[in-house]
């Protein structure tokens, strides 16, 4: 899930790790340990969902910038659809509580895509 938040941040344009962390924290404590962004970004890189390039920064050493690949974009779209389905199902349960009626997600899943 967090991976896809990172991909979503990169949808708007390339960014670097420290900035991504800042966006995630501002969005609401999504990253409990900031340091874990680096393994996460490394994984996205290995999976080919992002590419990187080095750029000079105004101060300090060059920064590694991350950019979304086509695969990353596809993965993000797929996650968006699944997340919406999940969110709707949870919302329905929270609003009505469990019941004997067929589960909303089961009904949704039964429909042809």
């Amino acid at each position: 899930m967090l991976e896809h938040c990172v991909l979503a941040i990169l949808r708007e344009g390339e960014s670097y790790a420290f900035e991504i962390v800042r966006v995630l924290s501002q969005a609401g404590e999504l990253l409990t340990s900031e340091g874990t962004i680096y393994p996460l970004l490394a994984r996205l890189r290995r999976d080919g969902l992002v590419t990187t390039s080095w750029r000079d920064s105004e101060s300090g050493p060059p920064r590694r910038y991350y950019r979304l690949t086509d695969d990353g974009r596809t993965s993000l779209t797929a996650f968006g659809a699944e997340w919406a389905r999940f969110r709707d199902a949870v919302d329905a349960i929270l609003a009505e509580g469990p019941s004997d009626r067929p589960r909303p997600w089961a009904r949704q899943g039964a429909r042809p895509a």
């Binding site: 900031e34 874990t36 300090g60």
Partner: protein, 179 residues
């Protein structure tokens, strides 16, 4: 680069924890975290002990960073729960309640008794428990029903037999004399 002992200590712990990683990745991760600390400290605009501790706290424990790298575990609180639920959800949606195993189970339980009286439905239970689509709760209910269905006629036979024996017992005939 900083000479701050707290930062040095932190990076030392990270390096020690990172032994499972490849040498290249270990060097890279240390560099990334070192630069992160520098960035954070320059944003904070100070390097007193409280500020440094705060920056290191936000980074998380070195062991946690490395274990995320090794296991690919999701670092966000609650993320694991959501991912698991989403996985259940997607398999649940793709799963119909009935496949081959489930249909065989139902046929055997329903009509087994017509093929082999009384105990005919029992093999159906094998297929009930072989199902990966029904929940354990479903399976327990099915088992209870079948056992009850098999047990009832047997109990009935037993009671009838006992009823026949009773008068003989009353007439004090020995069991061996029963034809």
């Amino acid at each position: 680069m900083t000479a701050d002992p707290l930062v040095q200590d932190y990076l030392g712990r990270l390096e020690a924890a990172a032994w499972p990683l490849s040498a290249d990745r270990r060097t890279e991760l240390l560099q990334e975290v070192r630069e992160h600390i520098e960035d954070a400290l320059s944003v904070e605009g100070g390097r007193d002990e409280t500020t440094v501790r705060n920056v290191l706290d936000r980074l998380g424990r070195p062991e946690e960073i490395v274990s995320t790298e090794v296991d690919g575990a999701p670092p966000a609180a609650g993320a694991a729960v959501i991912r698991e639920a989403a996985a259940t959800l997607s398999t649940g949606a793709d799963h119909e309640r009935f496949g081959g195993v489930e249909i065989i189970a139902l046929l055997l339980i329903s009509f087994g008794a017509f093929v082999v009286p009384v105990v005919g439905p029992l093999p159906g239970l094998f297929f009930v428990w072989a199902s990966n689509r029904w929940t354990t709760h479903n399976k327990i209910v099915a088992t209870a029903l079948v056992v009850l269905l098999v047990a009832l006629p047997l109990l009935l036979v037993f009671v009838v037999a006992l009823g026949r024996l009773q008068p003989m017992g009353a007439s004090a005939q020995p069991m061996g004399a029963f034809p």
